[in-house]
Structure formats: structure tokens, C-alpha cells
Amino acid sequence: MSLERCLSFSRAALRSVCFTKQHLQGCVHICLRRSSTMSQAATPILSVFPSRALVDEKFKVLVENLPPGCPVTIHSLHHSEDQDYWEAYGHYISDDRGKVSVSDDLSFGGTYTGKEPMGLLWSMRPVPGSRKGLRLRKMNVCTPMLMDISVYSRHEGFRDQAPLASVLIERWYMAPGVRRIDIRERGVRGTLFIPPGPGPFPGLLDMWGGGGGLLEYRSALLASRGYVALALEYFSPGELQTAELEFNYFETAFNIVKDHPQVMPDRVGIFGLSLGSIVTMALAVESRVVKPRCCVCISGNHCFPPGRTLAAVTGEVDMNYDKVRVDENNHHIWRDVGLAIMREPSSKLDMGKINCPILLVNGHDDQNWPTVESAEDITEMMRAAGKEHLLTRLEYPDTGHLIEPPFSPHFRATNFIVNLTKEKVIMLWGGQTKPHSDAQEDSWRRILTFLQQHLYCSPSPKAKL
């Protein structure tokens, strides 16, 4: 094309996003595009399919129209609700037809290597210069997570120029048609998610861990997979000591799900992570009021002194607080606290009394709690009581405590407020990014199969669309 046209492009002002924290705050960078890449060469085509999806769905990232054997970097960028920037990238080389397919090709380096179709999501981490100890959690599930996926020339120093092409994708926790309802009844605080359609549906009580607060995203996703799910708030962050947590708070929450007109009352399960798992097991074993159809316990344990309240549970932690270690980065390791508690038989639930199927999901590198040791102990108890057939265990190597829905980034150590001392620490959860991400992907699939088997399937099958 003509020289005049080339120059007019070079003079055009183009916005470019820079990738260190300082620059990202309100900086508009005027970039000059290299005129040699102008219309003389074909323009690269970047496509991501699908561009709108649920967070547990895979995508295909394809770059076409590159020169053959061309080194490029594919980059993802997310601006979180907390105003942090998260990114991932992989270095690729186009094939003889000028294509790069993230699903089929191998990354030479970046935040992930090898053949990793979803590496651009699960290997995300805060951009250089970010605050420490961050965790990425969607608080508002009514909007999607937005990610910029871009392709850059080169491997080394790819950030120095504007991208060759860029697309925007949406990742949703809530499928279209899922309804979100605030729950403030019978003293219970939470959010209920209901799938689209007439129902009735199986139900789930969904509980998170010792961080507290109201986290809705897993419940929204479970509703998108056909379950009425209640995300339960049972204490505010840092307030566990003072929260008034009687056992019947959780029983009431369970009944709110069970009594809902669109829920099948005999098909309500309980889903918990960490402290939420303790509550889950306690309800299954001790409650005379609720009878869960099945339980899913991620990174949990059975340390709940029978007959006592949740505050008493945390009291046990407080009493053994001296067993907390720190690593070379001053991150808190709580494993040994749990081991100490587990030595006391009276601190543990009698898991032999459980009467419903239970799925335990644990990571072998859990530095927060000895969840695998706990699972061993639970197995022993259930075997002795002839209940082993109810137990399913999933365990993963190099996987930490925070086993979340698939393709979420891995959090090895994040900020945490210790309930006892109110101090802000960085808690070591454990896990190495690649094996931990594999565990998240594999466990979610198996969890959904487990739930389908116990909450949807025969004897009285319900149609599922």
C-alpha cells in the first residue's frame, strides 16, 4: 500500500495496556504500530470459542494467518473486582500453515508449559508489582469475569509492543435463567440459587471455610448445573469467636432448602470446604433433625467434638495455637495444629454413625490442615462400622487446601485474618500450580458425577435438560 497510508497509520494514536501495576492505573500509552506489519502482510486472526461460557467450560483459542514458524505469545489479562490485575501467558510457535491452537500445541514457556488448553486461565497470577497474598474470588455473580485474550509478537520482551490482535471473553458463574434470591429468614443469612425450569430440583446446602463471609460463586455454579443451592453465611470475616453458632443454625439452613417448593425434600445434600466440611460431617453424623442424601467434603476433617458448638471447635484450634509454624517466608502453616487435635479421640466425630454417601476431596500438599490423615482416620472408623461402601475418596498429589471450581487460579498462600488474634497473616494453603489445577479440573467433574448419581438418578429419575 502507499507510503502515505503507511504513515497515516503510524501517526494514529492507539491505546495500549501496560502490564505493570504502576502503569495500569489510569495510564494511556500512545503506541506507534510498526508500519512494516501493516496491510502488506496478512493480519493475524485471533478467535476464542466460545466467547461467552460458564467458568467450568473449556474454550479453544486459535490464532491464524501468522507467518509460518513465527514466535508469538498468547496472553490473558483480568481486572478483578478488587482492582488488581491478573495475567497468564504462553509462548508458542506457529505451524507451517501459520496457525497456533492452544488446545493442540505446546507452550514453550510463560506461566505454563506444554499442551494446556486452559492454561491461560488456571495459571493466572497477579501482575508484577501487585500487592501480596492476593486471592481471586468473584463476589458479584450476576456479572461475568471479563478476560482480554491477546496475541503478541515474540517471546522475550513481548510486552514492549501493542498486541497483534485481542478479543474479550466472558466467564460466568451463573447460567442464563438461574435465579438469585437473598435469604434472610428464620435467622439464617445466605443466598439461594435456583436453576431455570419448573423443577422440582435436588438441593444443596453450600458452606465455605474459616475465612467467613458470604461467597456465592460455587452455589451459582451448582445451580447452573441443575441444583438448588444455598450459599450460607455463618460468620463475618474475623468474627468466628463471637458468632453465635448453634448447631440448629445449620439445621435451619438445611431445612430452608428442603422446604423450598421447587426442591425435592428427600434429595438434599450438603457441600462444604474446610471448616464447612467439618460442619457438613457434623450434620450428617450428629443431627437428629436433618438427613442429607449425600455429602461432599473438600479439604475437610472430622474434628468436631460431639454435642458441642462450632465455637468450641475453634476453641480447640485456639488451644493448640502454639503448634502453628511459619515457613521461610513467614507464611503460617497450621497442619500441626490439626494433627494435635486429631490425637484426642474425644475431639472427633464418630464417622461410623454416618448413613449417607460421602465424598472426600483432599490434596496431599495441604499445609493448612492434615486432611489426608483425617481421611485415613475417617476410613478406619467407617470400615469398622461396616459403612465403607458409603465412602468415596479423591486425593491429589501436590495439591493444596483450596480446591476450587476448575480453571480458577491456584492460591498457594494468601492473606487471612486469624480469628483468635485478629492479626493479618499470610496463610500457606499448599499445592503446586499445575498439579493443583489438574486436581481442580478432575475433582469438579467427579463431584458433579457424584451429585448426579446420588441426587438425580434412580429410583425416581427426574429429567435433566
Partner: protein, 384 residues
């Protein structure tokens, strides 16, 4: 689903679950309903106005910034929606979008041009498309929104029947310079590759596309023409392409026994105003012409024949690609939207319904195939 006007559209199909208790639309066959056979997308292109709906409806999205929300339900037994309420077993909601995330919609009111520009996400520069519709008028955005979602900067332009255009709404009061300005607006945009711009036209838009490409000296890289004439179907009022009132001369309007009008004969090459016939032999870029063989609104086959002949005589056959679809009508649109065999054309001076032609299933197959080929054609001519 409900259209933007609030009308209810429905499709249904009867299936039998297999031994696993599964029905899979990409594999199983419908044994009755809005479509039969294995049709993965039949529930969309088979949508029809629900019983009791107003007459002459056509499903077209005006606001492309929101999706169509479609409810898909599973009902017990082989029933049809108009029967008594059957037992709904399950349902999901799906969203159908014309705009991908990150696509920007920009209203264009510049140099007298009335249009909407859609830009893909990213810095570009992008190849461009100028998007021209038919005599129905107004500013139709959905095809451009979809092109932008596929990586092309696309400008849809209004030329008749829009309140911001000069003069009475039943005439074309803009001439060659208007379309030239539109093309240049696209070309001069800093995020558009100036030498990679195509033009697509449907119906009367075909004539405008051909006129723009051969007469005025703009240089598009490729042209796509869907079911339209090589000359104006309305008498010109000046040399610049402006026209008289399009309802002025009705001698070629044909009516069926229900009083529905077919405009087909108006665009027979012999009936087109001779001074408006485009000099096809002057074409210098590839042209794809798409024919619906059951087109009742335009003499597409005859016009395609004429273009093909003219190019052959000029030694330019290599520029010409023809797609021809039996059973397809005039409105060959982006895939999976339902065909309207006829729809309301005007309400004044009296209610008039016009015939478009096309039967549901073959028209749907044509839209799906044509769209793929259109995108391939654009990729070959605008990207490589």
C-alpha cells in the same frame, strides 16, 4: 421466545429417548413438529409465530446490544405447543447474541452519512465491510454486528426510510456521493485497513453495491451480492442515483389470490430502468452472487445469469462465484434465524403483505451454508 415487539415465537420437535434415556439433537431424529430429521439447530430456525399471533410477522433484532432470550423446554409426550398445557419436565434458558463481548457499536452521523459502525475488540487494524440492505429501509445493524464479532470492522448504512435522511421517506434522496462518503468513512478510519474493504448488499443493496464498485471509482476488494438486481427497480430522478417514489410505478407488481404482492417481476433485467443498469464488465474485484431459487421478491436467477454472461464476455469469469440454493427465498440472512415466506410490507394506504418465498428447511440450510461461504470468501479476499 419473545421478539422485541412482544410476539411469541415457538418451535417444537418430537423425539424418542434412546436406551440410556438420552435425547441428543446433534445425533437424533425429530419424528414430527416444526422440522423432521436430524437438525441440531431446528429449534431456532424452525421458530414460527405462535397461534393467534398478528399477521405478517418477521423476526428481526433491532437492538443488537442485548441478546434474544430463548427458553428451551422438555415436555412429556409428543405434543404441540397449541395443545393443552403438557407436563413440562425441565427447561433451560439460552442467550443468542449478534455482538460478541468487546465489540464496539458506534453511531455514525458524519459527512451526511447515517450509519452504525461495529468494531471488533482489539487495536486492529481490521479489514472492513460496507453493509447495504434493501428497500425495506431503515438502519439494519445485526449483520454488521455479527461481522464485527468475526473480526471485521463493519459499517451498516441507511439510504431510505430513515427519519434522519433528507427528503420524503419513500424515495432515495441520496446519491453516489453519499455511498462514496460511506465507503471513505470506513476506509479512513484509523482502525480499518484501507485496502481491505468489501461490500455486501441484499436485494436493492445489490444494485447499490455494483453501482458503487463499478461507477464511482472506489476500489473494494470483493463484493457479496444476495438476491438483487443489476439496475434500479425504481426510476431514477437524476444522474446521481436518486430515485422517484418507489410505489410510483406498480405495473410489475403481481398479486396472488390472497392479495399478497410479489415484486419479482420488477427486477427482471428487461424491466429495469436501462440508464441505471450497472456496467458489470467494468468490475475489477471478485464477486460472489447468492441466489435463492424460490425468491419471490427479486428475479435473482435472471440477474445472476446476466452478471455471469457479461463477465464471461468480458473475459472476467474468474471473478465470479455463484451460490444457488433450491427452496431458499429472498431473505438469505445470517444462519439459524427463521425464514418468513411473507411479511407485512406497508400499512398505508392499506395493509400490504409481500411474498419473499423460501421454505423453512431448505432456506435454513441455505443460510447456514451461505454464511460459511461468505465468511470464507471474506477471509480469502480481505485477510490473506
Amino acid at each position: 421466545m419473545h421478539s422485541e415487539d412482544g410476539d411469541l415465537w415457538e418451535a417444537f420437535a418430537h423425539y424418542n429417548a434412546d436406551a440410556d434415556g438420552t435425547v441428543n439433537l446433534t445425533r437424533d431424529h425429530s419424528v414430527g413438529g416444526s422440522y423432521s430429521g436430524c437438525e441440531a439447530m431446528g429449534l431456532f430456525w424452525g421458530l414460527q409465530p405462535a397461534p393467534g399471533a398478528r399477521e405478517g410477522l418477521r423476526l428481526r433484532k433491532k437492538n443488537v446490544e442485548t441478546p434474544y432470550v430463548v427458553h428451551v423446554s422438555l415436555l412429556e409426550g409428543h405434543v404441540s405447543p397449541s395443545e393443552e398445557q403438557s407436563n413440562e419436565l425441565a427447561a433451560v434458558t439460552t442467550e443468542r447474541w449478534y455482538m460478541a463481548p468487546g465489540v464496539r457499536r458506534i453511531e455514525i452521523r458524519k459527512d451526511g452519512v447515517i450509519g452504525t459502525l461495529f468494531l471488533p475488540p482489539g487495536t486492529g487494524p481490521f479489514p472492513g465491510m460496507l453493509d447495504l440492505w434493501g428497500m425495506g429501509g431503515g438502519l439494519v445493524e445485526y449483520r454488521s454486528a455479527l461481522f464485527a464479532s468475526r473480526g471485521y470492522a463493519s459499517l451498516s448504512v441507511a439510504y431510505i426510510g430513515h427519519k434522519e435522511l433528507p427528503g420524503p421517506q419513500n424515495k432515495i434522496n441520496v446519491g453516489d456521493s453519499y455511498f462514496k462518503s460511506a465507503f471513505h468513512l470506513l476506509q479512513d478510519h484509523h482502525q480499518v485497513c484501507a485496502d481491505r474493504i468489501g461490500i455486501i448488499g441484499l436485494s436493492f443493496g445489490v444494485y447499490l453495491t455494483l453501482r458503487l464498485a463499478t461507477n464511482i471509482g472506489v476500489k473494494p476488494s470483493c463484493l457479496i451480492c444476495v438476491n438483487g438486481p443489476v439496475g434500479s427497480t425504481i426510476k431514477l430522478s437524476d444522474d446521481d442515483g436518486r430515485t422517484e417514489n418507489f410505489e410510483g410505478d406498480q405495473k410489475y407488481w403481481m398479486y396472488d389470490d390472497q392479495g399478497h404482492v410479489s415484486f419479482r417481476a420488477v427486477s427482471l433485467p428487461a424491466n429495469l430502468s436501462p440508464e441505471s443498469k450497472v456496467k458489470i464488465e467494468n468490475l475489477t474485484c471478485p464477486l460472489m452472487y447468492i441466489v435463492g431459487e424460490d425468491d419471490l421478491s427479486s428475479s435473482s436467477i435472471e440477474n445472476a445469469d446476466l452478471i455471469e454472461e457479461t463477465l464471461r464476455a468480458a473475459g472476467k469469469s474468474q471473478l465470479f462465484t455463484r451460490l444457488s440454493y433450491p427452496g431458499a427465498g429472498h431473505l438469505i440472512e445470517p444462519p439459524y434465524s427463521p425464514n418468513s415466506r411473507s411479511s407485512l410490507w406497508s400499512v398505508k394506504p392499506k395493509k400490504l403483505i409481500t411474498l419473499w418465498g423460501g421454505h423453512l428447511a431448505p432456506h435454513a440450510a441455505a443460510q447456514e451454508d451461505a454464511w460459511k461461504k461468505i465468511l470464507d470468501f471474506m477471509e480469502n479476499n480481505l485477510r490473506r
